[in-house]
Symmetry: C2
């Protein structure tokens, strides 16, 4: 998985603007569910949910279903502030009755049935599922259905028959570049449960840290983590927590590259003698394991054996990405080995390594999964490919008989809009043309939260709410693609996710207060107005545009750290301008709304500048504030031109363009989202085009 | 402590409006400290605080000071998002050096020295204190000093010599009426530490619940708590947590009244045979312990012995308030006993009870404290009076030789403004005229958070930020009374308190989302605009104005539960109108600001009403929304009249008054804070008075 720009030459990463795909006008969806169920049929009336609500379990039960039922009751009680009975009963009489047929597997499997049927009528609700996994998904659906109504809290009458489109719906969190504390992991598992994701891929080792306690090789975590690692006891707690939520946990130990932190305590594993220190910078680095040393394999056999016992899942992720080969090139012993064994190049050497690794993983009862680079036709078909390179390589793997999951297009750290992630489908591109049995091998996808620029404060906001759109892509039928409906439901689900315990909305005011310090209320409001319409720079530009070379010790206290990766206000403004222009600029209410917005922006800078004199964190964005002010003036001028209804002069246009151009450029690593839309409005006003006919 | 209206006949509680005392125009305080230190002398320049910051301990040290130092470093790192070294060193070289002279007491005492001196210069900072208590207070002062500056995070150069005015600065939390979970208790202790409060008074038993595990009498918590109680192990953890923060914990077991929950498991203690159930309603109830039964005292001796061991503090609170005497009147055996012992009335019977209780408390090594009602001149001078009745009874106690603390005027649940609490001084009224040695007996005060209408979600917002103003009253010199300065600093401290972990600001959007359900962004904004300028009804009117008789099972999901008890926006609006009118309505900028505010209010209702059709929780406040809209229109009309500059007609005035009058009345248990100020503006416009001269 490319972590910086060195592979950009391959043309795989296209730097994209921040405009969103054209969207149909927002329409109120019948049900505020995310992900959308496979089939939903509206009934009439609704089921009242008040403090007399009861839950009963019938048929098969097991402890985790009992716990899920109690968790459901706590969550229902919390989201409605209703004191409902905290325990489910056994039997067939209750407001909501769960009927489960049989047990789920002791260790959750990829192929396990996750389907359920939920019938809600004014008289009661029934949730039927073959096994507890489906029952747990159905409970989450019910929680989303319950909302305020004219007569109290209620769930609309509906019959839902639901099952996932893909069996592998994952979120990867990189706990290695920045350590992510357990409470953050847990609340993200809660979020995953809410949107029916079922795989937590835990990236646990990197150049910047080795994050798991190893009892066999304690120097790994003792010397490779700055003391920031998970004990095996803590890992087991997370595993139980995840299993309780129907979530498999796939650990990743990235090899042979991305491995500097291993070598701090074990330099003998590396291809160059060392000594090594924990890496503090970001990027691709030279250290790589020595695949020609038999001791490497002895070590790995024992290590994998230990970890295979700790992590029960069938899959074991070995990384395998982005080896630059420099240490291999520079080591004469390795070069000699390659010659002796007819290994032609570094790619072939990595294949050799994987061919040694795979049987080891299999011996310990696991199925190997790795990033694109591990793909080699000589490996057994048991391995699974995680594609960060794109749909083409995913399709290629499937064609060759390998199972695969898609992560290309789902990198949460790149700052894409929810709509852009939403448009990425594992079955698109080359995959669309695969034969049915090849398509079967595409198991699903995983969103990825790489952690160079996140910390425990803002990581939730980098994952959510956009991750819910990816969750829907992987669960819902392929034809569920309307971005406007997605955004409308996402607004609702996003607020709900804060009830679940995530902090993706509430973190931001706190970070803004840090930036503002002892600001007056008016100054703080001005900062918030600016923060509302900016987004961090996108894709892989964060490092190259940084004011100082970023490392793992760089404070994350700037506005770029404090604003969400997608601006809701920015998106709505763009939609408003699009609609206004599409309607020949005739809509008076929209015009008034735009005018009021532009006036606020124009006047905002004067309110913020005094604070810029006192806070270095505001000083950094003083230019952005001026740009927003310029956008406000240009917007007002454009509206005036539209009202006039005559083609504007070239000099006017040039003048407006100049002031918009500054706003369009990134500054302080921030993009001003409204800038292109203001330009669109200005051109509509200047052209004497559609907007002329308004009078 | 009066929990409902039955004592209102005594004239002790005066229903007050929500206007604030006249305030001087806000002036920027030199230092954003709360509480204000006794003496502060500004230096020149500032001390830069960046990731090279270090802390050293010299002189005496003890484990809790080490822990306080580590906690300080974590908090500094968190509030600035700076990766500072996580451990302090020993010695005299560091950015901040703490010099402590000697140990603090093993069990914190009321009279312990809490003073410290903090010298900050551009070269470094030195914190000197006689013992760790002062050092811990000084660390909190330093944390408040660190803020954004033009060159990075910095603390201004200053020399502070600080000590508290009163030795007893407490917060009482009622964990009995609504159970308050441990994490909420802990974060409130963190908040107390931040504002230098040093007594946590824990109200642990009530009619509605008995909240402590008793190993001697397990039926107390098993049958009296619905399972919602603290284990002794949990209590010990809280005690250690509090001690680490320089906070004493005074437990309260309220007797002989307020005791229904005791009798569920132990009806034999009551004055009527029972059986008893946990009380679900609010108010004063009949059940009272039987003070004529010798078994009562055997029981209490054992119980107090057990609790005296659990809680190390020197003080033991026995409640003693609000016994209505009905069970005593109705019990012939008790009547007989009174006759036989020459006990004339119920007050005398309670005195008898206290005279039996006090030596028992003393025997177990504790000093008895109780509410006003325990005061009886025949009791030894060792007891302490907590005054909920007012300064007169406090002064009376001091005159009679008893120590006392003031809580009257500091009841956080009554919804008073911070300024109103701030104006209450333990040394005012009769106390001002006490002799010096009598004044010495007034130890300080305690804010009280009674919990009829709070739950874990909103309790922080009922305590903070107003509690910080009370903390300042009890710490800072008596002459620190400027409310404008207090509010300016409170804004800053309030944001800081969220960094400490409190949720008094962040809870509100979540509760508004529950009320709004699947609202559009515009609808949600309209709800927020209304929420911003309302406050819950004040004093003891909450129960009598409730739509249904409130109990402990009443959901707390309405707007009255979701808004803070003091509206910042409302207060600022009132200030704006006051300043505008005081300036003869000449200030154009203020006029524009008012006009924009009124326009927003006028148009807000149309945006909110569609949501009222869908949400019963919005339906309840639809009338308030219309009232706000009417205020907006009236305000605009008033501004127009002011611009005209001529006396308005009586009919105009009558019409305006009618629409403002509706807004002035409580509705949905909410007050519209701007209403009186809009009336003031209208009268200024109508009168042809000062505002006429504007042109």
């Amino acid at each position: 998985m490319a972590r910086n720009g060195w592979m950009r030459g391959l043309g795989i990463f296209v730097l994209c603007g921040v405009t969103h795909p054209a969207m149909a006008a927002a329409q109120e969806p019948a049900l505020n569910l995310m992900p959308r169920p496979a089939v939903a049929q509206a009934g009439s009336g609704s089921l009242r949910v008040d403090s007399s609500f009861t839950l009963a379990l019938s048929g098969h039960s097991e402890p985790r279903l009992d716990r899920a039922a109690e968790r459901f009751l706590r969550q229902l009680s919390r989201q409605a502030a209703l004191p409902v009975a905290p325990k489910p009963s056994k039997g067939a009489k209750a407001t909501l009755v769960i009927q489960t047929d049989h047990a789920s597997k002791g260790i959750q499997e990829v192929s396990e049935d996750e389907s359920y049927t939920l019938e809600v009528s004014p008289a009661g609700a029934k949730l039927t599922a073959p096994n507890p996994l489906g029952a747990m998904h159905g409970l989450q659906t019910f929680l989303q259905l319950v909302d305020v109504s004219p007569g109290g809290f209620a769930a609309p009458a509906v019959t839902i028959r639901d099952k996932p489109r893909f069996p592998w719906r994952g979120l990867m969190i990189d706990s290695a570049r920045h350590f992510i504390p357990l409470d953050v992991i847990r609340r993200n598992l809660d979020g995953m449960e809410a949107v029916k994701m079922n795989v937590f891929h835990w990236h646990l080792s990197e150049n910047q840290g080795f994050r798991v306690e190893s009892k066999k090789f304690p120097k790994l975590h003792e010397q490779g983590s700055d003391g920031l690692y998970y004990t095996q006891e803590e890992i087991r707690e997370v595993l139980a927590y995840a299993r309780d939520r129907g979530i498999r946990v796939v650990p990743e130990f990235d090899l042979p590259g991305h491995s500097t932190a291993w070598f701090v305590g074990h330099p003998e594993l590396a291809s160059s003698p060392g000594p090594y220190e924990i890496e503090r910078r970001w990027g691709i680095f030279d250290p790589a394991i020595d695949p020609t040393n038999e001791k490497t394999y002895k070590f790995l056999d024992q290590f994998i054996g230990e970890m295979a016992k700790l992590f029960p899942d069938q899959f074991f992720h070995v990384g395998g990405d982005e080896v630059n080969g420099k240490q291999w090139d520079a080591n004469p012993k390795i070069q000699e080995f390659m010659k002796a064994h007819g290994i032609k190049n570094n790619q072939a050497l990595q294949s050799y390594f994987n061919k040694r690794l795979q049987p080891m993983v299999a011996k310990h009862g696991k199925s190997m999964i790795g990033w694109d680079e591990v793909l080699d036709p000589s490996l057994p078909k048991d391995i699974t490919i995680q594609s960060w390179r794109g749909p083409a390589s995913l399709a290629q793997a499937a064609k060759q008989g390998y199972r695969g999951i898609l992560s290309n297009g789902y990198y949460l750290d790149l700052g894409w809009s929810a709509a852009r992630h939403y448009a990425v489908d594992p079955m698109s591109g080359d995959a669309a043309n695969l034969a049915p049995e090849e398509k079967q091998r595409i198991l699903g996808g995983e969103s990825c939260m790489w952690s160079e620029y996140v910390n425990p404060e803002n990581v939730d906001s980098r994952i959510w709410p956009r991750n819910a759109a990816i969750a829907e892509r992987l669960w819902s039928p392929q034809e569920v693609t309307d971005a406007a409906s997605m955004y409308s439901r996402l607004d609702f689900i996003s607020a709900r996710l804060e009830w679940v315990g995530l902090t993706h909305k509430s973190y931001s005011p706190k970070m803004l207060h840090r930036i503002a310090g002892a600001a007056s209320p008016a100054e703080f409001a001005a900062l918030r107005n600016l923060a509302d319409v900016v987004e961090p720079v996108k894709d892989y530009t964060r490092e190259q545009t940084a004011p100082a070379h970023p490392t793992s010790a760089t404070p994350m206290n700037r506005l770029v750290d404090a604003v969400p990766l997608e601006s809701d206000a920015g998106r709505r403004f763009v939609e408003l301008v699009d609609q206004f222009v599409a309607g020949s600029c005739r809509d008076a209410a929209s015009e008034a709304q735009l005018r009021s917005q532009f006036t606020l922006w124009r006047d905002n800078d004067a309110k913020l500048q005094p604070l810029a004199q006192r806070s270095f964190l505001v000083q950094e964005i003083a230019g952005r504030s001026q740009d927003l002010s310029a956008l406000g003036s240009a917007g007002l001028s454009a509206l005036d031109a539209i009202v006039k209804g005559q083609p504007a002069s070239d000099s006017w246009k040039a003048q407006q363009l100049a002031s918009i151009d500054g706003a369009k450029k990134p500054n302080a690593q921030l993009l001003l989202i409204p800038a292109p839309a203001v330009q669109k409005l200005m051109e509509a006003g200047a052209s004497g085009g559609a907007c002329v006919a308004r009078n």
